[in-house]
C-alpha cells in the first residue's frame, strides 16, 4: 500500500478502497482485546454518569455563575501546569516548557493562586500535555496506544494513556506534597472538581455522538483514539494542526 496509490481521482475512490482493503490492515480498527470487559465497564460508567456525574455537572454548569466556573477552571489548570512543563521537557520542547513555567509563576502570583489567567493576556497561551501524549510523541504511531481500555469513572483510555495517568500522578508536585502532608482529602476534592469541570466540556460532544451512533461504545472508542492522536500530532499547537494532520488524512484516504 505505497503512497503512490493515493493519486487516484475521486471517482476511483471506491475501487481503490476495495483494492486497498484487501491488503491493508484496517487503520480504522483499534486494538481492543478486552472488548467484553470494556463494554461492561462502559455500561457501568454510563449508569453512574446518568445517575450522578451528569446531574451534578448540569447543575454546576447551569447554576454556578460563569465567572466562578471560569475561575475554578483556571485554578485547576494552574495546578496542572507543573505536570505539563515536565512533559514538555520530556517531549523535547524546552521553550514551551519555559513558557509553561512562566505561566505558572505569573498566574500563581498576579493571577491570585491561579484563579485568573493573566498569563494568556500577556501572550503566554495555555498548553496541556500529559505523559500519555509524551509516550505518543516518541512512539511510531499516535493512533496506536496499545489495547483500548475503559477505566472505571474515567472512561475511554488505552494502555499508553493509563500508564500516562499513573506517571503524571507520581510526578505531580501537588500530589506528592498532598500525600506527604497527609491531606489526601484535598487531592480527592481536586480530582472531583477536575472531573466535573472536564465533564462540562464533553457534555455536548458525547450527547451528539450517542444520538448519532448505532454503537455508542464503538463510536466513542474511535473518537477518543482520533482525538488523542490529533493532540499528540499537534503538540497542543493549533498552528501546526493542518499540516500535521495531513499524514492522518492520508491514511483516511487510503482506506476509502
Amino acid at each position: 500500500m505505497g503512497k503512490a496509490t493515493v493519486s487516484y481521482g475521486r471517482n476511483l475512490i471506491g475501487a481503490a478502497f476495495l483494492f486497498l482493503a484487501a491488503c491493508a490492515t484496517q487503520p480504522g480498527e483499534i486494538s481492543d482485546p478486552l472488548e467484553v470487559p470494556n463494554r461492561f465497564m462502559f455500561a457501568i460508567n454510563q449508569t453512574v454518569d446518568l445517575l450522578v456525574v451528569r446531574p451534578v455537572t448540569v447543575t454546576y454548569r447551569d447554576w454556578v455563575p460563569a465567572p466562578v466556573q471560569r475561575a475554578l477552571t483556571n485554578f485547576l489548570n494552574n495546578l496542572g501546569e507543573p505536570v505539563t512543563a515536565i512533559n514538555e521537557v520530556a517531549q523535547g520542547e524546552p521553550e514551551r516548557a519555559a513558557k509553561t513555567v512562566g505561566r505558572f509563576l505569573v498566574n500563581s502570583t498576579a493571577g491570585l493562586l491561579g484563579l485568573f489567567d493573566v498569563a494568556t493576556d500577556m501572550g503566554l497561551a495555555p498548553t496541556k500535555e500529559d505523559f500519555g501524549q509524551t509516550l505518543g510523541v516518541w512512539a511510531n504511531s499516535p493512533e496506536d496506544g496499545g489495547p483500548y481500555l475503559v477505566l472505571p469513572l474515567l472512561g475511554p483510555s488505552n494502555v499508553r494513556d493509563a500508564v500516562g495517568l499513573l506517571v503524571d500522578n507520581l510526578i505531580d508536585p501537588f500530589s506528592i506534597a498532598g500525600r506527604r502532608l497527609n491531606v489526601e482529602y484535598l487531592l480527592w476534592a481536586r480530582a472531583v472538581m477536575t472531573g466535573i469541570d472536564a465533564r462540562t466540556r464533553t457534555l455536548q460532544a458525547l450527547d451528539d455522538i450517542e444520538k448519532n451512533s448505532l454503537d455508542f461504545y464503538a463510536a466513542v472508542r474511535s473518537a477518543y483514539t482520533q482525538r488523542r492522536a490529533s493532540m499528540i500530532r499537534t503538540k497542543g499547537d493549533p498552528a501546526k494542526a493542518t499540516t500535521a494532520e495531513i499524514d492522518a488524512a492520508t491514511k483516511v484516504a487510503l482506506v476509502r
Binding site: V6, F17, G28, R61, N212, D215
Partner: protein, 232 residues
Amino acid sequence: MVRATIDSAAVTTSYRAPIPSQFGSKLPAMKSSLARRPLGLRVIAIIGLLLMSAAPARAQDAGAFIDGVARQVLDMLRQGVSDSQREATLRSVLRTNFDLPSMGRAALGNYWSKTTPDQQKRYLAAIESAEVRAYSDRLRQYGGQSLKVVRQTPGPGGATLVDSQIVQPGGQQVVRLVWEVRKEGGRFLVTDVSIEGVSMVLTRRSDFNAYISRNGGNVEPLIAELERRAGK
C-alpha cells in the same frame, strides 16, 4: 499568533469587505445561557459567516466555497425558521455541497462491496436523512457562533483541507474544524469534516463496522436500523 497572521493576510483578499466582521455579535443569541455553554458538536461547522482566506489560487476557492455554504446556513438561522423548514433547507444544502454518497460508501468500509445495489440505494437514502437530522439537531440551538476560515492546505488525493475555527460570541473558547474538500466536475464538494481532530467519516465507519459485526456480519440490520431512525 494565528489571529495576527489571518488579519494581515485578510487584507489581500476580497472576502473581508462584503462581510461585516462583527456580524456574529449582532446575531440574536436565542438564549443567553446557551451562549456561554461549552462548545461541542452542536455548534458545528456550517454555522459560519466570516471568511478570511490566506492561501492563493485553488485553496482560496475552497475556502470561499466553505464560506458560501456557511453563509447560506447562517442566513437561514438568522431568519428563525421552523424545525421542518430548517430540515428542508439543510437537506438541500447537504445534497448540493456534500458528497454524501462518497461519505456513505467510506462509512460502510469493507461492507460496501457485500451489499446489493438495492441495499446500497436504501442505505444511501437512510444515511442522507440521518445526516440531515444530525445537522438540524445541532443547529437548533444556535447561539451566535461564527466560523472563521484560517487557511487551506493541499490534502491527500487532490483534496484541499480547509482549516477553520468556530468562534464563540464571548470569544473565549475555540473549536478547530477541518473540512476535506474535493473538486468534482468543476464544483467543490465536502467529503469529510473533522472536529478537533475527530473525523466524522472515520467515526461513522468504526460505528457501522462494529454494528455490522455484532449482527453476524450482515449489513441488512444496519440499513433497517438507519431506516427506522430516518422514519421517526
